[in-house]
């Protein structure tokens, strides 16, 4: 009897959960569906949900009209470049704080976090003017530099919380066996740290891909990543829902897939290890 009740309860809870989940996901689903409609069908009233003439022409047209692929490459270069550069700087820093903690380590970590609290408008003008004078406006290099710096605290923090979980005794044992600092890093630490580094990389690529303050303010045409590419669709010309949908789908698809894979690490990364 009790079992029957709990099954009925699970059915009810499951239905409710699915309804809510689909409602939250609906704007994305609707965008993807609309991207396969013709422009006329996209604004048809009443709108058709599945029974329309599926077409791929919007995708071709978006590529042709606004060169999706170039913006996609800009996004890839900027997000991956800033992440790799950030890791290069952050791995040694996090390593040293996790394994050779000093009296001030906690203060340094908190201070790094505090730089993240600096609102971007507080430094917008000097960065803009400096970039203008250095010829870095609208360049991938410029954006890689800025995004590396704004995400560096998160990278250091995430790596730190991962490294902290590697038992220090292993390093001591290796040292007893005569391992040098270098072979310690290469043979002992690296294999144990790879999963943490990989999740840090994924999360940071997501953050950099979707960053929309600096990418909008520091790029014009040449180095514009997908965030700015989509923003160019904000002033509509004629019928454009289907094309907007196709462009949107192409802009979010890569990161949606990466994001689904890294959802577990997301919590730890975004709360700076405060919630695991």
């Amino acid at each position: 009897m009790a079992r029957a009740v709990s099954t009925r309860r699970q059915v009810a809870v499951s239905i409710l959960a699915w309804v809510v989940a689909l409602a939250i996901f609906f704007p994305i689903l609707w965008t993807v569906l609309t991207s396969f409609k013709t422009e006329a069908e996209a604004i048809a009233s009443p709108p058709s949900f599945l029974f329309f003439d599926w077409t791929l022409e919007n995708y071709g047209e978006v590529q042709e009209r606004s060169d999706y692929f170039r913006h996609f490459m800009n996004s890839v270069v900027i997000s991956l470049g800033s992440t790799l550069l950030g890791l290069l700087i952050a791995i040694p820093a996090a390593w040293s704080m996790a394994f050779v903690p000093a009296r001030r380590t906690k203060d340094v970590l908190m201070w790094m976090l505090s730089t993240k609290m600096l609102p971007p408008v507080g430094v917008l003008i000097p960065i803009y003017l400096m970039f203008r004078d250095l010829g870095l406006l609208d360049t991938r290099t410029g954006l890689v530099i800025v995004l590396t710096l704004i995400n560096l605290p998160i990278i250091v923090w995430m790596l730190y919380t991962y490294f902290k979980e590697i038992p220090g005794e292993i390093l001591e044992a290796a040292r007893m066996d005569g391992a040098t600092l270098w072979s310690e890093i290469v043979h002992v630490l690296t294999p144990m740290a790879v999963p943490g580094i990989a999740s840090t990389l994924l999360l940071n690529v997501i953050l950099a891909w979707n960053e929309a303050f600096w990418t909008l303010n520091l790029t014009a045409a040449k180095a514009a990543p997908l965030t700015a590419f989509i923003a160019s669709y904000s002033s509509p010309e004629g019928l454009f829902y289907a094309k907007l949908s196709a462009a949107s789908t192409m802009a979010i698809a890569p990161i949606l897939i990466i994001g689904w894979f890294s959802q577990k690490q997301l919590v730890r990364g975004l709360t700076f290890g405060a919630v695991k």
Partner: protein, 290 residues
């Protein structure tokens, strides 16, 4: 035991990160402070002169500033209310055994990965547009007059868009916290005859308190700087109805070329964010396992 040698090496490894972040903080910020005391417009080069606190006086007494400050607070508080309450309810729901739990989680988390410009344009055009948007179709279907969201209630519309993006974040973190709750404690309370409500308020909620605080404080930092959603939907309008501090500074500096005034605004934004940040640092610092 760390040797003197490894301590030197450690300091050496830490220094690039520290030097870069220090530079990133100090150089531009001190330039902003310097500019904020100048009369400096990019359209009048060579005319820069020291003006004391004039820029601050103009920025702070501009009616637009007050409106933007109120909008910033309404935006932050509105999104927080929706995401924290909604996120708690969703976390409680998803913590139950549900068929296809993995897929449900994937659907719920998805909006967080959508870039702000996409989410804003999709909501603006395909849902909130008074002629062709889905909401307009739905209103017409039941015989109602379509509502022009972005013209009639611009700030509310932006709150909806931003809340949609942040609801998954709150849900995910609160769910993680919920899953670490001791089941035996729940069972014990059931045996003692506690109902679902008292169980929620006396056991579940106190357990989630820290995660809720973390959600509130981290979201606040990001929500104070909402920018792209405003840029691609309303441009801050009509009037200043959907302008927040971040957007106001952007307009002043990059659209009106008023470097001095924009810098003063930027410093005001920094001070406001710092007031919030102090709470966040205390909170996370207390729970930090170093």
């Amino acid at each position: 035991m760390a040797t003197a040698h490894s301590r030197t090496a450690a300091r050496f490894m830490l220094s690039p990160a520290v030097v870069l972040l220090l530079g990133w903080m100090i150089i531009p910020l001190s330039m902003t402070i310097y500019f904020s005391f100048l009369r400096y417009n990019l359209l009048m080069p060579g005319m820069e002169e020291f003006t004391g606190f004039t820029n601050y006086r103009f920025f702070l007494t501009d009616p637009a500033f007050f409106e933007a400050l109120v909008n910033t607070i309404v935006l932050v508080v509105g999104v927080l209310l929706i995401t924290v309450i909604g996120g708690t309810l969703l976390a409680l729901l998803l913590d139950q055994p549900v068929w296809g739990q993995g897929v449900v989680r994937i659907l719920v988390i998805a909006p967080f990965f959508v870039m702000p410009t996409v989410s804003a344009l999709v909501w603006k055009n395909m849902f909130m547009n008074p002629v062709n948007g889905l909401f307009a179709h739905m209103a017409k279907a039941v015989g109602l007059e379509p509502f022009d969201f972005l013209a009639q209630a611009p700030l509310f519309s932006i709150i909806i868009m931003v809340a949609w993006q942040w609801l998954p974040f709150a849900t995910l973190i609160l769910l993680t916290a919920l899953q670490s709750l001791d089941r035996e404690q729940i069972e014990a309370s059931e045996i003692d005859g506690a109902g679902p409500f008292s169980r929620f308020f006396y056991i579940v909620l106190p357990h989630m308190a820290r995660a809720i605080t973390v959600v509130i404080l981290i979201q606040t930092i990001f929500l104070l700087s909402v920018f792209a959603e405003i840029l691609v939907t309303t441009n801050g309008g009509p009037g200043y109805a959907s302008t927040n501090i971040t957007y106001l500074v952007y307009v002043q500096s990059l659209l009106q070329y008023d470097v001095g005034g924009g810098s003063a605004g930027g410093i005001v934004a920094v001070i406001l964010a710092n007031i919030v940040a102090i709470f966040l640092m205390r909170m996370i610092g207390k729970n930090l396992e170093v």
